[in-house]
C-alpha cells in the first residue's frame, strides 16, 4: 500500500501549545517540519524545555498538536497508534512489578490477542535479542537498571513496530552502562531495520547512535539545524575515537550553542529528572 521509499514520519507545520489561549498558554513547539525515512535513526537533542519529548509524544499520538499535521506510514498518528505501529521506551523502564520479565514482554502481545504459544515464542525471541534469555522468570526488582531497560526495549520490540520512540532511555544509567546500551541499541537497530526516534540530552550519544541529529532550541521549541551523521557502520568503540566522530560532536555542540542558551551538561541534567520523576517505576 505504502510506496517503499515513503517516509515513516511526515510532520508539517506543527505547533503545540499547553494551557488555554490567552491565559498563560505556553508554546512548546512552533513551526515544526520534519520528515523521517524508513530505517533512519534520528536523535532529537536540545536544552531542557525545547519540546523534544513533546515532539516524540506527538509522533506517538500520546498528545495532539494544536495545529499542523503528523503522518505516520501515510496515516494519521492516531490511526497508527490504533494499528499498534509504535514501540515506546521511556527514561524509566516502567515494568509491571507483578509480572515476570517474560510476562512483561508478553503484555503487548496479550493486548493484541495473539495466541499463547506464539506469544511465548515471540517473547523468548525478543529476550534473546536483548541478551536476557536466562532471566525470563525474574522480576524487575531483581535486575539492575540497565537490565530493566533492556526488558523495556524487548517489550517495545515485541510488536515488531515500524517505529521505535525512545525518550532518554539511558538518561538514568551510569556512563559505562550507557555506552554498552548504546552499542546494544545499534545492534538491535541493524538486526531489525526498524526506524528509531531517540530523545537525548547527550551530544556524544546522539552522534554515536544516529544517522541524523535534529538540533532544537527552546522558547518556543523549534528545529534549528539537522546534521547528517555519515559515520560508517557498524559503529563500535573505535568509532568513539574517530576524528570524524569528534568533528561531528563539535558540530552538534556548536549548533546547540549558536542558538544562545547555555547547554547544560548531560549527567547532572538527567539525574535531576530521575529525582523529579520519582525514580524507576
Amino acid at each position: 500500500m505504502t510506496e517503499p521509499n515513503a517516509p515513516v514520519v511526515r510532520i508539517s507545520g506543527v505547533d503545540k501549545q499547553f494551557g488555554v489561549e490567552g491565559r498563560g498558554a505556553t508554546t512548546a513547539l512552533s513551526g515544526i517540519d520534519l520528515t523521517i525515512g524508513r530505517g533512519e535513526f534520528v536523535s532529537l537533542i536540545g536544552p531542557s524545555g525545547c519540546g523534544k519529548s513533546t515532539l516524540l509524544r506527538l509522533i506517538g499520538d500520546l498528545t495532539a498538536p494544536t495545529t499542523g499535521s503528523i503522518e505516520v506510514n501515510g496515516k494519521t498518528a492516531h490511526s497508527a497508534r490504533l494499528g499498534r505501529e509504535y514501540g515506546i521506551v521511556f527514561q524509566a523502564p516502567v515494568l509491571f512489578e507483578w509480572r515476570s520479565v517474560e510476562e512483561n514482554v508478553r503484555l503487548p502481545l496479550e493486548l493484541l490477542g495473539m495466541d499463547r504459544s506464539e506469544r511465548e515464542t515471540r517473547a523468548h525471541a525478543m529476550l534473546e535479542l536483548v541478551e536476557l534469555g536466562e532471566f525470563t522468570r525474574h522480576h524487575a526488582h531483581q535486575l539492575s537498571g540497565g537490565m530493566q531497560q533492556r526488558v523495556a526495549i524487548a517489550r517495545a520490540l515485541a510488536l515488531e513496530p515500524s517505529i521505535m520512540l525512545m525518550d532518554e532511555p539511558f538518561g538514568a544509567l551510569d556512563e559505562m552502562t550507557r555506552e554498552r546500551m548504546n552499542s546494544e541499541v545499534l545492534r538491535i537497530w541493524q538486526r531489525t531495520g526498524t526506524t528509531i526516534v531517540f530523545v537525548t540530552h547527550s551530544i556524544p550519544e546522539a552522534v554515536f547512535l544516529s544517522t541524523r541529529v535534529v538540533v532544537m532550541s527552546a522558547r518556543p521549541g523549534r528545529i534549528t539545524e539537522q546534521i547528517e551523521v555519515d559515520l560508517p557502520h557498524p559503529r563500535n568503540e573505535e568509532t568513539r575515537e574517530d576524528p570524524r566522530y569528534f568533528r561531528l560532536v563539535t558540530q552538534v555542540r556548536e549548533a546547540l550553542r549558536a542558538d544562545g542558551g547555555p547547554v547544560r551538561d548531560v549527567p547532572a541534567a538527567s539525574e535531576e529528572r530521575v529525582v523529579a520523576e520519582g525514580g524507576i517505576g
Binding site: G60, D61, L62, R81, L82, G83, R84, Y86, I88, F90, A92, V94, F96, E97, W98, S100, L107, P108, E110, L111, L112, H139, A140, H141, Q142, L159, G278, G281
Partner: protein, 290 residues
C-alpha cells in the same frame, strides 16, 4: 535473592511468647502489689497496696480466666465455656465473613466507578464518608428493625463497616499506576477494560490488602455489635451481653469472651495476611509485620 533480613519462624514465635510472658508478669505483678488477697492451697498473701483496678472483680487472675474456659458454660451444662466460645466465634465469623466479602465487592465496585467518573466521585464520596460518621450502635437497632431480627441484619452491619476502608483505599490504588504506564497502555491501543484488568487492578492490590486487613477486624466488631439488636442468640455478641449481666458473680467469663473476640479478630486478620502474601508474591516490597 534475599532482599530483607527476615528472620525465621522460631525467632518470631520466640518474640511473641516472650512478649506474652511480659504482659502476664506485669498483670499478675500489679495484682501481687495492690490486688485482693491471694489464697492458694492454704497459702495467703496480702498485697501491701490497695489498687482499685487490680481487684479480682476488675482484673481477674489470668489463671481464673483460663480456668473459666475449661469450666462448664452454665451450671450442669455439658459444654465448657471454651467450647461454647469457639462455637460462638465461628457463628459470628460466618456473618462477619459474608459481610466482609460483600463489603469488599461493593468497595471495589464503587472505587472502580469513581476512578472512571469524576462526576460520580464528586457527588457520591461525601455520602460515603458521612455514612461512617453514624455510630454503629445507633444504626444497628434500625437495621434490625428494618431487616428483621435475623442474621441478615448482622451481615449488613459487617458489610457497612467493610466497604468504607476498601472504597477509600481502592480509589487511591486504582489511581496509583505511573502515568507512563498508562501512556504505555495507550500506545498499545489498550481499551479501558484492559487498562483496568492488566494495570489498574494489579497495581491496586497492595492498597486493597491494607484496607482488607483493617476491614477484617472491623467486620468482626460490626458483627458482634450487630448481634445484640439483631437478636442472634448463638454468637459472641449475645455472649458479651449475657456475661456482662453476670459480671459481679463471674468476671472471668466476660474476660474469656473478650479474649475469644480478640482471637477471632487476629485469626481473620491472619487469613487475609496470608492471602496478601500469596497475591503479592514476587513483587519487590518487603512484607510488613502487620
Amino acid at each position: 535473592m534475599p532482599r530483607s533480613r527476615e528472620r525465621g519462624w522460631p525467632w518470631r514465635i520466640g518474640i511473641f511468647v516472650a512478649f506474652a510472658a511480659l504482659i502476664l508478669v506485669v498483670w499478675e505483678g500489679v495484682k501481687f502489689v495492690g490486688g485482693d488477697p491471694w489464697r492458694y492451697f492454704g497459702w495467703e498473701w496480702h498485697p501491701p497496696l490497695d489498687i482499685r483496678y487490680a481487684s479480682d472483680l476488675n482484673l481477674p487472675h489470668v489463671w481464673e480466666i483460663v480456668g473459666a474456659l475449661a469450666a462448664p458454660v452454665r451450671r450442669n451444662a455439658d459444654a465448657s465455656l471454651g467450647q461454647f466460645l469457639v462455637g460462638a466465634a465461628f457463628h459470628t465469623w460466618r456473618a462477619a465473613a459474608i459481610g466482609f466479602v460483600a463489603g469488599a465487592v461493593i468497595g471495589i465496585g464503587l472505587a472502580a466507578l469513581f476512578v472512571h467518573s469524576r462526576l460520580l466521585e464528586r457527588s457520591l464520596v461525601p455520602y460515603v464518608i458521612a455514612s461512617q460518621t453514624i455510630p454503629i450502635v445507633a444504626l444497628a437497632p434500625m437495621i434490625a428493625f428494618a431487616f428483621g431480627r435475623d442474621v441478615v441484619s448482622v451481615v449488613i452491619i459487617a458489610t457497612y463497616l467493610t466497604f468504607f476502608p476498601v472504597t477509600i483505599a481502592m480509589i487511591r490504588g486504582l489511581r496509583s499506576p505511573d502515568p507512563r504506564a498508562l501512556e504505555l497502555m495507550r500506545s498499545y491501543a489498550a481499551g479501558r477494560w484492559s487498562v483496568f484488568w492488566k494495570l489498574r487492578m494489579p497495581a491496586s492490590l497492595p492498597y486493597l490488602f491494607t484496607a482488607l486487613k483493617i476491614s477484617a477486624t472491623a467486620s468482626i466488631v460490626g458483627a458482634i455489635v450487630g448481634e445484640g439488636p439483631g437478636g442472634i442468640p448463638d454468637g459472641l455478641g449475645r455472649a458479651i451481653i449475657n456475661f456482662n449481666n453476670q459480671y459481679i458473680s463471674g468476671p472471668e467469663k466476660l474476660w474469656a469472651t473478650i479474649v475469644a473476640c480478640a482471637a477471632l479478630g487476629i485469626a481473620f486478620f491472619s487469613i487475609i495476611r496470608l492471602a496478601e502474601q500469596f497475591a503479592l508474591r514476587g513483587r519487590g516490597a518487603v512484607p510488613d509485620a502487620a
